[in-house]
Amino acid sequence: MKLSCLGLSPQSSCYLLEYKNVKILLDCGMEISSILNYLPYSLKTNQFKNNNQQQQHNNDSKKEIPVIFKEINNNLYIDSNDIRYSTILGENLVDFETIDYILISNYQNIYSLPFITEYTKFKGRIYATEPTVQIGKLLLDELYQMNIKQSRLKNYNNNNNNNILQSSEILEKLYNHNMNNNNENFDEILKFSKWKELYNRLDIEKSFEKIISVRFSEIITVVQGFKMVPTSSGFTLGSCNWLIDNEHGDKIVYLSDSSLALSRYPLPMDIESLENPQLLIMTKLNYHPQLQPDEKLNELCSQIGLTCQQGGTSLIPVNSCGIVLDLFEHIAEYLTRLGLFQVPIYFISPVGKSVLAYADLYSEWLNKTKQERSQMPEPPFLHQDIIRRGQFQLIHQIHSNFQPTDGPSIQFVGHPSLRLGDVLQLLSKYSDQSKNSLFLIEPEFDNNRLLSPFQNPPLQCRIHYLPIDPRINFSDANLLISKLSPKNLIIPINYKNYIKNHINENSNILTTITPIQSMEIIKISIKQKFDRAHLDKSIAKYIKLNRIENKLNSIENINICEINGQLSLKDNQFIISSSNYNNNNNNQNNNNNIKLNYIFNNNFSIENLIESLELNGFKNLQISNNNNYLIIKIIHDNEEISIITIYNNENIKIETSKETIRNQLTNLILKFCIHNLS
C-alpha cells in the first residue's frame, strides 16, 4: 500500500492512495490562502513602491514590463486583479487517467475537482455526500462569480501576466521572500507547483455532474474486494471521513476535517465505525489548536454587542457556508437577549439564499435537535423565523439599491481572504470609522497576511482576530488516536511535534507514526493474508474431508482436503469451481494445470521405513550415518544398487536406475505421510 501527498499543506488536502492495484485520490483541495499574495484591487496601487529588482528575471524583452510586484513590510505582493489559484501538485507527477476513484470528504476539499475532471484524462468515479455536492457546487460557483467580477474590472496588468505567473521563478521568489519555508523538498514542490486561472462555469457544471452522491454509511463495493464507506465527521453539512475496509481486517481510515463539538448543527462525528484501523490518515486538524472555539464565539458575540451599542457596523468576512450556520441563530438570539433585536443582520452572498434553503432540507444530516424540529414539521434552522421577524436579510450582492440602515448593523460577507468579493467594497466603506469593527473569524487565513496590505491609509475601525475553528485540536486528536488505536498513523509533517505515540490500553497496540510532506510517497505494508472466495456447487459436492489430529490440541477436530479447481471472478466475487465445469471453450487453458504433489509427515521415521523396506522384500540393506545424513543402500538381486538419503526426516532423496523401483520406494514412504487428499 502506498500513500502520496499531493497537497502543498493540509489546507489543500490531497492524497493518492494505492491499495490492491486501485488508485484512490483522497480529496482535492485548493491552497486558497495563496491568493493572499495578491493585493486587494480596492487599494490604490501607486501607493506602494515598485520592487524593480525583482523584475530583472523576466526582462528578456525591452518592452515595458508590467508592474507586477509591490513590496509592503518586506512582503512581496502581486499587483493584479487577475488572480491565479494554487491547485494540487500532481499534474506532471500523476497520470490522472490511471486514477480509479476520487473520494471527497467535504465541500472545502473539492475546489480543485474541475481542474482534474475537465483538464486531465481522469475517467474514474467520484464520490461525495449529497450536501457536499450541492453546497460545493454553490461555493465553487460563488468563487467563480467573485473572480470573474474582479478580473473584469478595468485594470492594468492583465496582459502578460499569464506567462509571468506561471513561471516557477516568480513563485520561487514569492516563496523565498514571504515564507519561512522549512520543507525539505521545497525545490521539488516548486517544480511541480503551478498557479492556474480559475475554471469557468461550464467546467463546474460538467465536473459536478460526474459526482456520484452518497449518504453516510452507504457502502460502495469495489471489484478488488473491498468497500468504501463515508461516515459523519461532524464538521459541516454532509462532511465525512472515509473508511476503506474489507472482510479481512485491512481497515484504512481517512480522517479529514472533523469536529467533536456537540452543540453544533451537523450530525455528530461517527467515531465507532473508525475504530482499530490498520492505517489512519489524519489530516486537517485545527488551525488554531491553542484556542477554544467556544471562548472565541462568546467574545465575538460580546464584541458585536458592544459595536452595536456604540452604533457601529460589524463587518464579518466569512465563507458562505460553514461556521455561519452556527453563527446566525446564535448571534440573533444573543442580540435579542440584549434587547438589540432591531439591529439588522445582513448575509451578503450570491449563494446565501440557496445555502440556507438547502441547509433546511438536509435534516437527515443535522444534529438530533434539528432533526426533531423537521418532524414537527418545522424548518430545522431558525433562519426563516429570524427573517420573518425582520432581523435577518439575505442580500444577493451589493448594488446601488443596497442601503443598510444608518444605525448599527451586522454584515456577513465574502470572501474571507479580503482579496475578492463584496467585502472589499464594504471594507472601504466602513474601515475609516473607529466605531465600526472588522471581525476576522475564518481560521484558515493568517491575521498579518490578511491585513498587511491595508496600511495606507491604515484601517481606522477596530479589528478583532477571533478565529473560530471547530476542528479537533491536538489534544482531541491524541485522545482520538488512543481511542481508535490505529496500527499506523500518517500525519502531515506540520503536526509531527504535537501528535504522540500511544499504546492503547485495550488493544495494547503501539501506534507507529509516520509524518508525510508534500510530494512524499510512503509505503506501508498491510499484511493482508486472505481474500474472500466462494466454493460453488460443482466443486463442493466432490469435497471429501479427511480428519487429522491436532498436534497442539487433541480435542479439536481439523478436517483437511485438497482443492483442485479453477478460480474465476463473478459478480465481484471469487468463485472456485471444478476444473471440468464451464470449460468447453477453454480446454487449452486447463491442460497446463498439472497438479502439484505435496507430502506432509504423519508418522514417518527411519525405523518405520527400514522395517517397511524389509517387509516388502528389500532385505539387503546397508545403513550408514554420515554427518546427519542417513544413507540406506539397497542392494538388489541383480546387484544393482538404489540409495535412499535421509536428512533430518525432512529431506529424502531416492536414487535408482529403475522407474518401477522408484515407484515402489516412493509408495513405501508415502504410507507414513499425508498426501493426495483430493
Binding site: 486472505f530 463442493a540 482443492i563 507430502i599 506432509f600
Partner: protein
C-alpha cells in the same frame, strides 16, 4: 417484520394482523429482530402502535425520516375518527402513538444499517409516496428485498423506484396492479383535467376524496398549474387541518421528491400553491362550482364522507376517486357501479341515493404489471413472492414471471408459510500468497505458450500472413483471463472460517512437517540406431518440447549446456555411459510422469 399495517375494511379485531402467528405466548421481541415500515400509509403502518404499545413488542423499528414525521399524524387522524366519531374503545391512545414513534430509528436512503451482528438493512427509493422506501435485508449470504408499495414511473412530484442489481434470494413485491398495464401518464392527466373542467363549467361541484399526503400533492400541482394556464377562477379547496401541514412536509422533505422540483425549489417551491385555499365547513353549502380535495380517500369516514352525503344527490356534481378502495368502504361500493344512479349504503342505518357522476382515475402510484416486471429485472432475484394483490391476478402474473424469468414465483394465501431453499456458495478465505502464486504461474505459462507458438511458426519456416494473423488473433483471444487454475489445501477448523492455503502455509498451520522428496533416476538409453546416431541434447529438447503440453518450456541450463530443465526437473544426457539422468522433486511428479512417458514413446529409454 416488514410493515405493520391495518385493514381499513374491517371495524373489528380483524383490522389488525393476527400476531399470534408469530408467537402464541406474545414473546414478540424475542422472535422479531426488527420492524421495518416502508411508508406512512395506514395499510402499512396502522397497527404499529397496537403492536408496540398494546402487544408489547419492544425491539427496534426502522423507517425513513419523512415516514417517521408523517406516520404519527395519519395514525392520530385515524384514531380520532375511530374513537371520537365511531366510539371505538379498544384502540390505541395519542400517548401510545407518541411513545411508539419515540422508538423509531430513522434510516437514510442507501445507508446500510447494522441491526445486529448478523442482520443489516438498506433502504431504496420507492417513489410511491413521500419517504416511501423498499428495503433490502441481509443475513450472512442470504438476502431479501421487500418493496412495500412502489411506482416505476416518475410523476409530477416523485421520482421512480430504483434498486441495484443486488440479486436477492427473495423479492417480495406488491401487486396492486398485477394485471393492469396503464396507458400513458399524460393521457390520464388530460382525462382528469378535462372531466374536472367540464364539471365546473356546468356549475357542478367536484369532490376528490384523497389521503392528506401522497397523491393529493401530485393532483394539486397538476390542477394548480392547469388553473394558471387556463386562467380559471373557480375556487379550489383543500380540506383544512391536515392539509397545510401536509404541504409543509413536502417543502421540508423536498429531497425526497423528483429532480425537477429539487432543482427549482430555491426560486419557486412547487408546493406553494397559487389557487388552492383551505376549506371551511360552511362552504359545503355555498352555491356555485368548486373543486374540493377532502380526506380520507376511501370515503369511509371524516370530511370527505360528510361532503359526499351532501353533494351526491345532485347529478351536476362529480366524485373522482383517484385511488384504490378497500372492500367494505363507501368508495369501493361506488366504484363497483359507476354507470348510473344507485343506492349506496353508508352505514347500517343510512342509505343514500347517488346521482352525481362517479369516476375512478387510476392515479394511485403503484407499479403496473410492466413496472413489476421491470423491478424484477432490475434486482434479479432468485425467487419472487407476490403480496398485496388479488389472488387471481397474482396467479396470472406469477405465470408470466415464471415464464419470462425462469425463476420460482409464489403467491401464498394469508396465514400460510413458504419455505425457500437457498443455494449459496460456501465462503472460504483464500490465502493471498496462494492466489499470487497461481496468478504468476498462470501468466508465465500463458507467456510461454505464446512464445512457443511464435517460435514454432518461425522455426518451421511457415510464416505466412495468414498464420501470423491467426497467431495475433490467438494472442487477442488469450487476453481476458476468465479463470485460473487453483490448487491448495482446504482446512476446516471449529469456530474458524474455511481456509484455502498453499502447501507450505498448510504445513505451518497444521504443524505438519513438509517432506521434500527428491528423485534421481539413472535410465539406460536403449541401444538402437536412432539413438546411437542422433541422440543429442538439442534433439532431446526439440522432441520433448513437441510432446509436452502447451505452456511448459524446456530450457537449457545456462551453466551446464548438457542439462535440460523444466520446473524442478533436470535431464542430463550422458552419451558416453549411455545413461539418461533424470532428477526431480516429488511436487513435480505428475509432470515427470508425462516426461518419462514421452521418453518412452521416443524409444529413448525403456521404463519397466
Amino acid at each position: 417484520m416488514f410493515d405493520c399495517g391495518m385493514h381499513m375494511g374491517y371495524n373489528d379485531e380483524r383490522r389488525f394482523p393476527d400476531f399470534s402467528y408469530i408467537s402464541k405466548t406474545k414473546q414478540f421481541t424475542k422472535v422479531i429482530d426488527c420492524v421495518i415500515i416502508t411508508h406512512f400509509h395506514l395499510d402499512h403502518c396502522g397497527a404499529l402502535p397496537y403492536f408496540t404499545e398494546m402487544c408489547g413488542y419492544d425491539g427496534p423499528i426502522y423507517m425513513t425520516l419523512p415516514t417517521k414525521a408523517i406516520c404519527p399524524i395519519l395514525l392520530e387522524d385515524y384514531r380520532k375518527i375511530m374513537v371520537e366519531r365511531k366510539g371505538e374503545s379498544n384502540f390505541f391512545t395519542p400517548q401510545m402513538i407518541k411513545d411508539c414513534m419515540k422508538k423509531v430509528i430513522p434510516v437514510g436512503l442507501h445507508q446500510t444499517v447494522k441491526v445486529d451482528e448478523e442482520l443489516s438493512i438498506k433502504a431504496y427509493y420507492a417513489g410511491h409516496v413521500l419517504g416511501a422506501a423498499m428495503f433490502y435485508a441481509k443475513v450472512g449470504d442470504e438476502s431479501v428485498v421487500y418493496t412495500g408499495d412502489y411506482n416505476m414511473t416518475p410523476d409530477r412530484h416523485l421520482g421512480s423506484a430504483w434498486i441495484d442489481q443486488i440479486k436477492p434470494d427473495l423479492l417480495i413485491t406488491e401487486t396492486t396492479y398485477a394485471t393492469t398495464i396503464r396507458d400513458s401518464k399524460r393521457g390520464r392527466e388530460r382525462d382528469f383535467l378535462k372531466r374536472v373542467h367540464e364539471c365546473v363549467e356546468k356549475g357542478g361541484k367536484v369532490l376528490i376524496p384523497v389521503f392528506a399526503l401522497g397523491r393529493v400533492q401530485e393532483l394539486c400541482i397538476l390542477i394548480d398549474s392547469y388553473w394558471e394556464q387556463m386562467n380559471l377562477s373557480v375556487p379550489i379547496y383543500f380540506s383544512a387541518g391536515l392539509a397545510e401541514k401536509a404541504n409543509f412536509y413536502y417543502k421540508l422533505f423536498i429531497n425526497w421528491t423528483n429532480q425537477k422540483i429539487k432543482q427549482t425549489f430555491v426560486q419557486r417551491n412547487m408546493f406553494d400553491f397559487k389557487h388552492i385555499k383551505p376549506f371551511q365547513s360552511h362552504l359545503v353549502d355555498a352555491p356555485g362550482p368548486m373543486v374540493l380535495f377532502a380526506t380520507p380517500g376511501m370515503l369511509h369516514a371524516g370530511a370527505s364522507l360528510e361532503v359526499f352525503k351532501k353533494w351526491a344527490p345532485s347529478e351536476l356534481n362529480m366524485v373522482i376517486i383517484p385511488g384504490y378502495c378497500v372492500v367494505g368502504t363507501v368508495g369501493n361500493k361506488l366504484l363497483s357501479n359507476t354507470s348510473g344512479p344507485q343506492m349506496v349504503e353508508i352505514d347500517k342505518k343510512t342509505t343514500l341515493e347517488v346521482k352525481c357522476k362517479v369516476h375512478n382515475l387510476s392515479f394511485s402510484a403503484h407499479a403496473d404489471a410492466k413496472g413489476i416486471m421491470q423491478l424484477i429485472k432490475m434486482s434479479s432475484p432468485k425467487n419472487v413472492l407476490l403480496v398485496h394483490g388479488e389472488r387471481e391476478k397474482m396467479g396470472f402474473l406469477s405465470q408470466k414471471i415464471i415464464k419470462d424469468f425462469s425463476i420460482p414465483c409464489y403467491y401464498p394465501a394469508n396465514g400460510t408459510t413458504v419455505n425457500f431453499n437457498t443455494q449459496k456458495p460456501i465462503p472460504i478465505d483464500i490465502s493471498t500468497k496462494l492466489l499470487k502464486r497461481q496468478l504468476v504461474e498462470y501468466s508465465e505459462s500463458q507467456e510461454q505458450k505464446l512464445l512457443k507458438q511464435s517460435q514454432n511458426l518461425i522455426s518451421e519456416g511457415q510464416e505466412t500472413e495468414e498464420e501470423l494473423f491467426n497467431f495475433n488473433q490467438s494472442k487477442k483471444l488469450n487476453s481476458p483471463v476468465v479463470s485460473i487454475p487453483m490448487q491448495g489445501i482446504m482446512i476446516q477448523r471449529e469456530n474458524h472460517h474455511l481456509k484455502l492455503l498453499d502447501f507450505d502455509e498448510a504445513s505451518k498451520e497444521l504443524l505438519l512437517k513438509e517432506i521434500n522428496l527428491d528423485y534421481n533416476l539413472n535410465l539406460e538409453i536403449i541401444n538402437n540406431t536412432v539413438n546411437n546416431n542422433n541422440l543429442s541434447i538439442e534433439y532431446l529438447q526439440k522432441e520433448l518440447q513437441k510432446q509436452l503440453p502447451i505452456g511448459f518450456m524446456i530450457t537449457r541450463n545456462s551453466q551446464d549446456q548438457t542439462i535440460l530443465s523444466i520446473k524442478s526437473i533436470q535431464i542430463q544426457l550422458n552419451t558416453a555411459n549411455n545413461i539418461l539422468k533424470l532428477q526431480w522433486s516429488h511436487k513435480d511428479d505428475n509432470l515427470s510422469k508425462i516426461l518419462i512417458q514421452c521418453l518412452k514413446s521416443l524409444s529413448i529409454v525403456d521404463v519397466k
